[in-house]
């Protein structure tokens, strides 16, 4: 067996990488020190960012890919996978992240969109995760090559309601496909602007064809359990950890909650003595220009 006979960046490898994250918590971090805290708490991966979504909201201006130097320092600090975000459609930022050697790229609505088209993710060796609010959006991203999907929720609010809504919409749409004839599916595919073969796969598997995480507003162990019980394969926690009073404790507690999501006794244990969670914003009070989930299509 010689190394030159290897095949890189196949669909199986990309989707397989996402599968290894299942049952895990992926945490937003902005420094190597935070990355180490996340790893020690049992995170399966970290998302390297310039600022967490709650601060991006506050700061305003154009939110871009993080400084490569910070990302490289975070890669050096931990052994778990490191992910990073690019602006929607910004394939040059994605090329830079691939050159750095990040393990997964999040084409994210949390950053300021760069194009009305999403990145052609099939051209990359590194796998992508993308946000979605409904089944059509999820399947369009998968068609473009996303190896993993997450709910958009409403990032940086600490309010789980939008993540819940998106998870329900996706799950409900998939359940409604059950028992449909192929010709009925082709109408669904047209209506939700999704690829027919992918809709067919959803009907037959009764789930998305790729790993589906919850994200956007998860701030407590109970939030994480809620999303897992609704069928999420795992959770992303953005501002919820490092905007809480005691990040180390909150991080471990959310990992515990994901592992014991269906055990109320263990959830209770995980929920005691955490200090203040992030303060947050009621997502229902955000005006039209203030929501991040409406970015992307």
């Amino acid at each position: 067996m010689q190394l030159e006979e290897l095949r890189f960046g196949t669909e199986l490898l990309k989707r397989g990488f996402a599968k290894m994250q299942k049952g895990g918590v992926i945490m937003d971090v902005t420094t190597p020190e935070q990355a180490v805290i996340a790893e020690d708490a049992g995170a399966v991966a970290v998302m390297a960012l310039q600022a967490v979504p709650a601060d991006i909201r506050k700061m305003g201006g154009v939110a871009r890919m993080a400084d490569p130097k910070i990302i490289m320092e975070i890669i050096d600090a931990v052994t778990i996978p490191v992910m990073a975000k690019v602006r929607i459609g910004h394939f040059a930022e994605a090329q830079i992240l691939e050159a750095i050697g990040v393990d997964m790229i999040d084409e994210s609505e949390v950053l300021t969109p760069a194009d009305e088209f999403h990145v052609d993710k099939s051209k990359f060796t590194v796998p992508f995760v993308c946000g979605a609010r409904n089944l059509g959006e999820a399947l369009r991203r998968i068609k473009e090559g996303a190896a993993m999907v997450r709910t958009k929720g409403e990032a940086g609010t600490g309010d789980v309601r939008e993540a819940v809504r998106h998870m329900r919409l996706i799950g409900g749409s998939i359940r409604s496909l059950k028992g449909m004839a192929d010709e009925e599916l082709s109408k669904v595919a047209r209506d939700i602007e999704a690829d027919f073969e992918l809709v067919l796969e959803c009907r037959d598997m009764q789930r998305l064809p790729v790993v589906n995480f919850a994200a956007g507003g998860i701030a407590t162990p109970a939030d994480a359990s809620l999303m897992m019980q609704m069928g999420a394969d795992g959770v992303f926690v953005g501002s919820g950890i490092f905007k809480s009073q005691r990040p180390e404790i909150m991080a471990s507690a959310i990992v515990e909650a994901v592992n014991n999501y269906d055990d109320p006794e263990k959830l209770l244990e995980a929920s005691i003595g955490l200090g203040e969670p992030m303060k947050g914003i009621d997502a229902g009070t955000l005006g039209e220009g203030e929501t991040l989930q409406t970015r992307g299509w």
Binding site: L12, G16, G24, T79, V102
Partner: protein, 185 residues
Amino acid sequence: MAFQGDVSEHVRAMEVGLGSEGSVVEVRRGGIVPGCDGIVLPGGESTTIARHLARTGVGDEVAAAAMAGVPIMATCAGLIVISKEIVEETRFLPLGLLDVRVTRNAFGSQRESFEADLEVAGFDSPYRGVFIRAPAIVGWGAGVEPLAMIEEVAVAARQENLLGLAFHPELTADLRFHEVFLEMI
């Protein structure tokens, strides 16, 4: 072990392999392992899985079962967890069951993850290995038989009732390693 990782893929592959001759249970807490005839440690994040094994006491149950001769199939992160020694690892201690030295992420990051056709001892045709941020076995004791190699490192090895694989047999339809494991039971 259903703490974290590609558990459902392992369950499905094992159910196909077993047919009607057994059942698969998902273990996320103590007390279940002592009643099992075989144990599978899936792929995932080894630091996370090791943490759950230690916290719940299931790690000790797995070690006791291994000593008692219960067959174990450990893939990728699982291989790291059952190894005797991890090169340059201070974050967690492996269970020390399989007498091998492993290097984590031996081939690089996800960009360097790969598929390769392996020559496997005992198989009459190549086996497609799926390596995802995979470890490699860089040293092994006299009781360990390396089953497949990539250049000078081993990527599959067996020591009596323990089967360690650096790749993911649960991600392909080729169930030959599952058959090897089931024959050990």
